[in-house]
C-alpha cells in the first residue's frame, strides 16, 4: 500500500512537471504566432507594473536602509564605514533588488493570477471562452507572462534605485556620514557585469511568477476551495522556485561574469 502511494505520488509529480513544462513553453511561443492580444498585454503591464510599484518602492527603500544599518555596524569595527555605499549598491544591484522584487511581485501577482484564472475556470468562463473560439492560453496566459517579465525588469531597477536611496538616508540621517562619499562609493565600484547579473535575474523570475500563477489557476478544480488551494500553491511554488533559480543563476553568472 505504501509503495503504491509513493508510486502514485511520484507519477503525479512527474506529470505535473511535464504539464508545467508544456504549458510554460506554449505561453512563451504564442507571442510569435497570431493572434497576439497586445491590448491585454498593456492592461496586464499596468496591473502588474504600476500596481506593484508601491510595495516594490517601500520594500526596496527599507531593505537598503537595513543593509546600511547592518553593514555600518560591522564595517565600523574595521574602520571601513566609508565603503557602506559600495556594499549597499552592490548587494542591491547584484542580488537583493531582483530577488526581493521577485518575491514581492510573486506574493502579489502569482496569487492574483491563480485566483483570477481559477475563479474563471470553476465558473466555466474559461470553457465559455474556448466555446467562443478564443484560445485562453493566448488571451489570458501569454499576455500575463510577457507583461510580468517586462515589468519585473523595470521594477527591479526601481527597487535597486530606492534601495540605494534608503541606504543613503540611513547613512546620512542615522549614521551621520557623508552622503557624497556614500554615492561616490556606490557608483565608483559598480561594473558592467554587476549590472548584468542584476538584470538577467528578473527575466527568469518574471517568467516563473506568471507561468506558475497561470498554471495553477488554469488547473483549478473543486470550486472556491480549489481556488484557495491553487493560490497557495502558486505563491509557495513561485517563491521557492525563485530562490532556487536565483542560486543556479548566481552559480552560472559568477563563472561567466566573474
Amino acid at each position: 500500500m505504501a509503495v503504491q502511494t509513493i508510486e502514485r505520488t511520484a507519477k503525479n509529480i512527474v506529470l505535473t512537471v511535464q504539464d508545467y513544462s508544456l504549458f510554460a513553453w506554449r505561453a512563451l511561443v504564442n507571442l510569435f504566432r497570431p493572434p497576439v492580444y497586445w491590448t491585454d498585454l498593456l492592461i496586464q503591464s499596468d496591473i502588474i507594473g504600476v500596481g506593484s510599484l508601491p510595495i516594490v518602492v517601500l520594500s526596496g527603500f527599507f531593505t537598503g536602509g537595513v543593509l546600511s544599518l547592518q553593514s555600518a555596524a560591522t564595517l565600523s569595527a574595521f574602520g571601513a564605514t566609508a565603503v557602506t555605499g559600495q556594499f549597499v549598491s552592490l548587494t542591491m544591484i547584484r542580488e537583493l533588488g531582483a530577488v526581493l522584487t521577485g518575491i514581492m511581485v510573486s506574493g502579489r501577482n502569482a496569487s492574483s493570477m491563480a485566483s483570477e484564472l481559477g475563479s474563471m475556470v470553476v465558473t466555466e468562463q474559461v470553457d465559455a471562452m474556448r466555446a467562443l473560439g478564443v484560445d485562453p492560453m493566448r488571451k489570458l496566459v501569454t499576455p500575463r507572462v510577457y507583461a510580468t517579465i517586462a515589468m519585473l525588469l523595470l521594477l527591479t531597477i526601481v527597487a535597486d534605485a530606492f534601495g540605494i536611496m534608503g541606504g543613503a538616508a540611513v547613512t546620512v540621517f542615522l549614521n551621520h556620514q557623508n552622503g557624497t562619499q556614500y554615492f561616490h562609493m556606490a557608483y565608483e565600484h559598480l561594473r558592467f557585469p554587476d549590472i548584468m547579473q542584476g538584470l538577467v535575474r528578473p527575466l527568469f523570475f518574471g517568467y516563473i511568477i506568471a507561468s506558475i500563477g497561470c498554471f495553477y489557476g488554469m488547473r483549478t478544480t473543486g470550486g472556491t476551495e480549489g481556488v484557495g488551494r491553487s493560490t497557495i500553491r502558486a505563491v509557495v511554488n513561485a517563491s521557492v522556485l525563485i530562490i532556487f533559480v536565483d542560486f543556479l543563476i548566481t552559480h552560472i553568472l559568477l563563472s561567466v561574469l566573474p
Binding site: 465559455a128 471562452m129 467562443l132 473560439g133
Partner: protein, 280 residues
Amino acid sequence: MTGASLTPASPSPDLNSRPGPVVALRQVAVAFDGPSVFENVSFAVAPGETRVLLGPAGVGKSVLLKLILGLIRPIEGSVELFGQDISHMPEEELFPLRARAGMVFQEGALFDSLSVRDNVAYQLIQELAPDAEIDDRVREALRFVGLEEAFALFPASLSGGMRRRVAIARALIHQPELILYDSPTGGLDPVTSDTIIELIVKQRDVRATPALLVTHRLQDAFTLCTHRFDSEQNRMVPLPEGQTNRSTTFLMLDEGRLIFDGSLHDLLHSDNPFVREFLE
C-alpha cells in the same frame, strides 16, 4: 399528455431530404480518472433539428455538450462537428469550428469583469469589428432576448434569468450554425423558465438553427414540442391539439448509456422502465 394523438405540426422541416448531420457521435465513451461517465453513445443532430437531451442529474448531460465542442475529448469513438471528426483534432484547429457554434452554459458563464455589451460582443471584439457595428449587433441580440436595457450593466447586477438571457444573446449574436443549451432553465422560477423556453422556440422557428438542449425538466421539453413561435403576435403559442413540432426529438441518458432516441410519440409510448419512471 400521454393519451394524446400526436401528429407532426405543419409546416415542418423534412429531415430526410437534408444534407449530412451537423453533429454526429459514434460509439463515444468518456471517463475522468476512473470508470466511464458514459459509453457507446451514438446519435446525430440534423440541420434544422432540435434535440432535447433528458436524464437525471449527474448522468453526464453537460459532459456530452462539452464533448460536442471538443472542450472534452472522448476516450473511445468519434465526434463529428460540421462534418469534421474533432475527436483528435488539435486545439488550435478547433477554435474556428467552435466559433461557428454557440453554447449557453448552465450558469451563463458570463465574463464578470466585462459589461453586458462586451460579454455579448465578445466574439466581435476579438475579430476587431468596428464599435458602431458592435453596438448595433449587441442591441439587436439583446432585443431578441428582451434585455435591451441591460446594455451597459455588469453581470453582478443581473438576476439569474437575466444572466441566462444575456448568455443566449452572446451565443446567438454570431448567428451560429448550431446552438447547445446546457440546462438553460435550471434553478429558475417558472415564469422566467417560460421566457427562456420561448426564446429557444423563437430561435428554432424563426432562424431554424439546429440545437441540442439539455434539461431534466420534462415540462420544458414538452413545451418545446407542443408550441411554436408566432412572429405576428411576437410570442409563443400552442400548436393545435394533438400536433407536435416534428423537428424536435428526444434523447435520454441513464447510468452511462443512451437509453432512448426518438420522437415525443416514441418517448410517451416507450417500454423502457426508466423512461416510464422518468415520465411519471
